[in-house]
């Protein structure tokens, strides 16, 4: 550990201190947690503002319409031909800022309406393809599977669970009918299928979270070794 520079040591100590401050929330809210929380929020908000400025506003906004204006900061844009279509998002962005002026604040509703309308329209075909057509296709499997001419028990069982599980889960999300009688029974089976799926996903994700915790402990171990070993 002797090869660590002063900057490395400083980063380790700051990281370890902030880790302990965040962990202290497990006991209860305290000034150390508050400090780490506010530092995190402040730094991240400022970071994302800077990222938004340099990766969106400058290259994709001003840089596309007036490349010569930003060529001092981004020399690779100096040869770019101006694309005046980008004036549209710039104008929409300026319209958003009218919220700051009470009397003309209503103008900001137009860009918001465009964003929501555009999202709804483009997502219609995307979700229809990925969440509807592909799912129907993947769920349309034979209820009997033969392998080399003989009955394949496990594959057949898997397909039966898949087809009936999907149909039952779809019936659970059917809002036009009361969950009574046959529909009630099928939707109950559907929610069981969902809960079993959630249980499996829960266990899988908790394992992933534990690996994250171990990663943090490994960092603390590295920090300890930096001054103990």
């Amino acid at each position: 550990m002797s090869e660590l520079s002063f900057a490395d040591h400083l980063a380790l100590w700051v990281g370890a201190a902030l880790t302990f401050m965040i962990f202290s929330f497990l006991y209860k809210d305290n000034p150390f947690y508050k400090f780490a929380e506010h530092l995190f929020v402040g730094v991240s908000a400022a970071y994302w503002m800077v990222v938004g400025f340099w990766t969106t506003l400058i290259p994709n906004g001003i840089g596309k319409v007036f490349p010569e204006m930003v060529s001092i900061f981004l020399p690779n844009l100096s040869d770019t031909t101006p694309n005046y279509y980008f004036l549209i998002p710039i104008i929409l962005g300026i319209m958003m800022l009218t919220r700051l002026f009470g009397s003309i604040g209503w103008i900001s509703r137009w860009p918001m309406a465009i964003i929501i309308g555009f999202s709804a329209g483009t997502n219609l075909t995307r979700y229809l393809q990925s969440d509807f057509i592909h799912q129907v296709h993947s769920s349309s499997v034979p209820l009997v599977v033969l392998e080399n001419g003989s009955f394949a028990w496990m594959a057949t069982f898997s397909n039966v669970v898949l087809v009936f599980g999907v149909i039952a889960a779809l019936l659970y999300f059917f809002f036009s009918l009361e969950h009574k009688g046959i529909i009630g029974g099928a939707s109950k089976f559907g929610i069981w299928i969902l809960m079993i799926t959630f249980g499996a996903a829960f266990g899988y994700t908790v394992m992933a979270r534990i690996s994250l915790l171990l990663g943090r402990f490994e960092f603390l171990q590295k920090w300890l070794q930096s001054f103990l070993v």
């Binding site: 929020v41 994302w48 349309s140 999300f173 809002f175 009361e178 809960m195 996903a201 994700t205």
Partner: protein
């Protein structure tokens, strides 16, 4: 004689250099054929525009044996623009037989040359016929998607017209929706605030839109009961839309005096910074009800666990399959997947939204029938081996294939 030989030599040299400009199939840059029996060159180089796209892409294909005495190191692809300048655009492995050039412009003819680079030299270089990339108005490979979209949209429009005539549409009760009013009532009785988190995504996510629709109903309740509402957000446009939503709700409830822009406040775009701040708000303000409606990622369990720790009644709703288990485990009520959208339609009381929900139910019925019928004919095809059943099941499966 001296003049004549110099003249013929110069003319030959000139023709040698300019003839590629006029020839249809000529040698491309620096081919050095050493032994054509061992070092095989790519043949039948063909460039073509791909159908059903917006252009700006050409496919180059060539013939090349899979096994050779000596395998080339790489296959080099050159592009000619206006038949004059060649540009090396890519190297591919010898087992590859085609290449998609995505750096072309629509309406410009391009020719390609493909060469094999052996340790001993480069062979090949025949130039393809010109190909022009062009955009098409319709993607014919997605006609089935269009037809299915038409069917689903016609269901929704049909129910909207039906409801416009004044017909009442039935929607069954959803437990989580009933619980929202109970939660707001509990917060009112306890004199504590209601915390509403509309997810961590922007307004281009339909779950955020559904979350804000539910926020409108919650805000109407808090305005009516004079309960404090707190809505932290992680996106600036979500903040603007959230403020509009809450303002409208307070106006609709007849309490614009209670509205303040501070109700909906931005924290940070950073996922875990946002969660850390909300955890702090929870333990300091101790809201009696925590409502999470929208798109969530890894922060879901952290939020739900902290809310559980402070003893708040918690109602969550998300369509993120990976986060639902955490909300189901840690919250009192969870709106699972489509229930989130159903709740937004139900709570808004808007006839068109409810009609849309009914139309989507018909879409689900359509999916159930399609799955059941396809599974039935596939099963009959497997059991009997009958060609008729196989053809029907293949046809039904092809209906749901979309590139």
């Amino acid at each position: 004689m001296r003049f004549k030989s110099t003249y013929w030599f110069s003319l030959s040299l000139l023709l040698f250099f300019i003839h590629p400009l006029f020839a249809n199939q000529v040698l491309s840059p620096n081919p050095t054929v050493t032994n054509p029996f061992v070092e095989v060159a790519p043949e039948n180089v063909v460039a073509k525009d791909l159908p059903n796209n917006s252009g700006k892409v050409l496919q180059v294909s060539w013939n090349f044996p899979d096994t050779l005495p000596i395998m080339p190191r790489t296959i080099k692809i050159y592009r000619y623009e206006h038949d004059t300048i060649s540009k090396h655009i890519a190297d591919v492995t010898p087992n590859v037989k085609s290449f998609l050039d995505t750096s072309v412009m629509n309406g410009i003819p391009y020719r390609y040359s493909v060469q094999a680079e052996y340790p001993t030299g480069i062979v090949g270089g025949l130039i393809s016929e010109p190909a022009i990339a062009k955009a098409e108005w319709f993607d014919r490979s997605k006609i089935n998607l269009f037809v299915i979209a038409l069917i689903l949209v016609s269901f929704i429009l049909g129910y909207i017209f039906y409801s416009e005539k004044g017909q009442r549409l039935f929607i069954r009760k959803i437990a989580g929706i009933q619980a929202i009013e109970e939660a707001v009532g509990r917060a009112t009785e306890m004199g504590k605030p209601v915390l509403f988190v509309p997810g961590t995504q922007d307004m281009d996510n339909v779950q955020t839109i559904a979350g804000l629709t539910i926020l409108s109903s919650v805000a109407k309740m808090t305005a009516k009961y004079e309960t404090k509402l707190d809505v932290p957000v992680s996106r600036s446009i979500t903040m603007s839309t959230g403020r509009e939503t809450v303002h409208e709700a307070y106006l609709a409830a007849g309490r614009p005096d209670l509205y303040s822009d501070d109700i909906v406040h931005y924290i940070t775009d950073e996922q875990f910074g946002f969660v850390a701040a909300i955890d702090g708000i929870m333990v300091r303000d101790r809201p009696a009800a925590c409502i999470y409606m929208g798109a969530f990622f890894a922060e879901s369990l952290i939020l739900a666990e902290t809310g559980n720790g402070i003893g708040a009644i918690q109602i969550a709703g998300t369509a993120m399959p990976t986060q639902l288990p955490f909300f189901v485990a840690a919250c009192d009520y969870t709106l699972i997947g489509e229930e989130l959208f159903a709740a937004s339609a139900y709570l808004s009381g808007d006839k068109r939204s409810i009609a849309s929900l009914k139309g989507q139910d018909m879409g689900k019925a359509f999916a159930i029938v399609l799955i059941a019928v396809t599974a039935l004919f596939s099963t009959l095809s497997v059991i009997t081996g009958n060609e008729f059943f196989t053809n029907i099941s293949t046809f039904l499966l092809n209906l749901t294939i979309s590139k």
